[in-house]
Structure formats: structure tokens, C-alpha cells
Symmetry: D2
Subunit: 146 residues, 4 copies
């Protein structure tokens, strides 16, 4: 169970699942979307919205952290399916550059998917800009009874 | 400059400063408050609000991360004053327990306040409950020209 | 199991256990000692030794990381006893100041001791100096079958 | 200065520099080698040696952390040259799998190289095994006066 499994949920299925379990994500308007799910990977997008801003038009740290966490969570769902609810146990975030006035892309990759613990990393970019704006690693506790 | 300085901003002054520079914090209603500022410390509160929730009535990870970041930022402002804009360079967060349906308290303490870099830790609690729900450490870049 | 338990191993018992399971620690001469174990806490000491040095007489980062890891591990052993072998899953370290030419003290405190996961923080000091030189947080996986 | 520069030091030059400034690395016998330096990258190797072991023949956490730190440091030296002494300010390490009885490879990549701060990530592998055993991110303070 430490390597990639066949995908158990499509991007659309994960998005519908997130809508159901995290409806507050869309408080103020839908901005988070699952773009792609692959083996041990997921890509999510957070559209540019006034409520995510900081002065100077840059996107807030908490918005970036939320996207990083969600993208890793989506990658885990793609591997273990909707029956299991993983819980974030830690997130380590490095803010590298100020993102511009554009959508934010989070590309997640699982480094380990064990029976009890998943670990992954995420790279965040402003849409259309190759410079990484933020990098995060996260760990997730996986329920034993799935 | 690596130890505590006389406080340069009161809790009320920091709150007014945050209102000015981070008005988006209050998008959907004011929930973040500076409760106390001391030498190398600050305590902030995030009131319970529907938009901070996760299913089961627990408070979301991004809400906790935002409070941790703000409390550390408030502790830095208390030491260096409003002229200097510190930037978060990293945040490492451990989620320990699910917070209950109550306000969240963030107690921040600076471990180092150097000329260019500040490092601190924050403990988060549900108001009225002694069990820590979340612990974070953050690093901040301090502008050279203050 | 998320709060302090009666201590199951004394400082001397933990030291003997570390000698047995980590004999390589003492490669080049014994420098790591368990000074005290309490409820959810432990204090360890690393004596000053040539092999831990960096130029200028300061102590190396890996030496500090090893002490932080060991002190957290000792605090866990004090709570769960020698039958269970906890494994470090992550360590986040902030280097604050250069330690001087003295023994290093690591004061560990567990923030959470769950059935499967323990989380703690450690503060490192040069012996006799009140300024923190390093701060770390660590997470440990605890075997299910104890 | 946030992107790759022409390499200022070769792998051999960095190895000679590390020998000079960190002679204690080789206490007990030379095990750390710089294998390759590229634009914003470096690969280092730590040969299998009795003093790096943990019971069961696995390699110790501090040995992995030291290799991660060194590989990032080598990548920075490759970009900024030997005149500037970068200092590790933080290291966040996730231990993924137990490494086997083989040399350890650390592949480092800088995510940001600013005027005052560098951030990078490192992936550690057992030589000849494609499974990542450890992942780390580190931040480094860069002297202003170079």
C-alpha cells in the first residue's frame, strides 16, 4: 500500500465529495476546483476572488495553505476512495514569492501512502507563471477501519 | 535586538493596524480580535462563526492556521511597531485535537527576534478548555530598512 | 491516552534502554544523558565533544537535531514504557542562535500522546545560558500492538 | 537572483570547501561526497558506515538529516560560491521508509534563491532503490555582504 493504486475516484467525483463534506469551502462563492487526479497525484485550482486577497492584490497565506491541504487530500481520496476520511495531522508551508492576481494552481504528489499515514508535497503556482510561489508538505492520518 | 523590547503598539493599536492592512480578514463579519500584547507575546481570539466550520461543528484547519499566523504577526508588531511590514516565510502546523464549537484562542511567543528574521511558536486552545488543539511555529522576514 | 500517565520508566531506565537499542549513539564516547523524566516531559543533555563541533567552536545542526529527537523519544518512553518502539515520522527544527562551547540541554514536552501518534516540542539551550538556541517539534508513530 | 545562475563551484570544489570548513564531517572516516552540482541542484552521497546505523541495519535519522542539510548547502554553494557562508535557519524532515544497508543519496533542488533567503527541498534514496526514504525542506539565511 506504499505505492500507487488504480484511481478510485475521478476528479469530478472528488469535487462532488468535497462539496458534500466541506460545503463551507464555497462560502462566498465557489473558487476551489479539482482539475486532475492521477496515480498518487492531484491538481487543484483556486480561482482569484476578492475574499482571498491581501493588500497589493496578492493572495493570502491561509488561501494558499487551504489549497495545499485540499490538493493533498484530493490525491489521497483518489487512492483510497470516499469511504475513508483522512485527517490532516501536520502541514509545513514555505512561502516563496507573492502570487499575482490570477488563479492559483496546487500540484500535489504523495510521497508515501501507508496503512496509517500518508505524506505528500504540493507545489503552488500562479496560473500561467512557471515560478513556484509556495511549497508545502503535509501528513495525514488514515483511519484503520477502511 | 534578540530579546524583548518595550511594547511599541498596544492590543488596540495592533487591531486597528490589522483592520487597515488586512480588511479581508473580516470578510463575512469580524471574528479576529487581539486580546493582549506583552513582551515577545500576543494573544488573539477567533470567534466561532459558521464560515470557519467543518462538518461536525469543528473549526477548519485554514482558520486555525490563519489565527496562528496572525497571533505571531501581532507579537512581532508589538515589538517592532507598525512601520515595519514583516512577511511570513514559513509556517509549520501540528493539528492535535478537533476544536469544539467555541472561540479559538492563539497564544503566541517569539523565540527569536533578530534584525532580519523572527521565529515564534503559537499554542491554540478552544476557549475554556485547557487541552491544546493545535501548535504552530512560524518564521518571518523583517525588512532591513526600518 | 491523550494526557499524562504515571511514569513507567525512570531516567536511569530510559538511559539503559537507549544504550541497548541505540549503542551507536555513543560511538566516539558517551555524550548523551537522560537528566530527568516527568509527566509528558523529559530533559536530556549532550556533553560538549570535539565530534559535535562546527568551526568557531559551535555545535553542529545534526547534533542538535539528534538531541531534540532523543529528548522527545525519552518523554514518550516515560509514558508508554519500553515495550513499545515509537518511530520518528517527522521533525521540524528552527535554529535560533549559535550554541556556545558548553553542554546542550534539550527540554521536551509532549503536546499529544494518542493511541497511534505522539506530538511534542523541544527547547534546546546551552547549559547555563537562558537563551534558547534551537526549537523543534516532532511527530512519532506508536505501534498499535502494545 | 531568484533563478538559476551559472555554476560558480564544481562538485570537486564544493567537496574541498566542505572538507575545509566542516572537517568534523569526516570524524570516524570519510562518508560524505558531492556527486553532482547543477543549476539550483546538487546530489550528495553518504556511504554506508557502522557509525550511521540504528539497530536492524537501518541508517539513523540524524545521518539522514545531516545529508539533507549538506545537499541543500551544496546546491547553494554552487549558485553563490565559496565567499558567502549560508546558515541553516530551519529544516523540516519527513521520514518515509527505513533505508536499507546501502549508501544514501540526497538529491537537492533550490525552490528559491533570494538575496537574503534560500529555500530548497531534498529527496533521499537508498542507492539503487527508487523508493524515497526521506524528504526534507530547508531554509538558509544568506549573508548580506557578499
Amino acid at each position: 500500500m506504499t505505492t500507487a493504486q488504480p484511481i478510485r475516484m475521478s476528479a469530478a467525483q472528488i469535487e462532488a465529495f468535497l462539496d458534500e463534506v466541506f460545503p463551507q469551502l464555497h462560502h462566498g462563492g465557489r473558487t476551489y476546483f479539482v482539475e486532475e487526479v492521477g496515480p498518487m497525484t492531484a491538481r487543484m485550482r483556486c480561482d482569484y476572488h476578492e475574499r482571498h486577497l491581501r493588500p497589493g492584490g496578492t493572495i493570502s497565506g491561509p488561501t494558499m495553505m487551504a489549497l495545499a491541504d485540499l490538493a493533498l487530500y484530493a490525491a489521497i481520496l483518489g487512492q483510497i476512495g470516499p469511504v475513508a476520511l483522512a485527517v490532516t495531522t501536520s502541514l509545513n508551508v514555505n512561502f516563496l514569492r507573492k502570487p499575482g492576481q490570477a488563479a492559483l494552481i496546487g500540484q500535489a504528489r504523495l510521497l508515501k501512502l501507508g496503512k496509517r499515514l500518508a505524506v505528500g508535497e504540493v507545489s503552488l503556482y500562479s496560473q500561467g507563471d512557471p515560478e513556484m510561489v509556495c511549497h508545502a508538505t503535509g501528513t495525514y492520518s488514515i483511519p484503520a477501519d477502511r
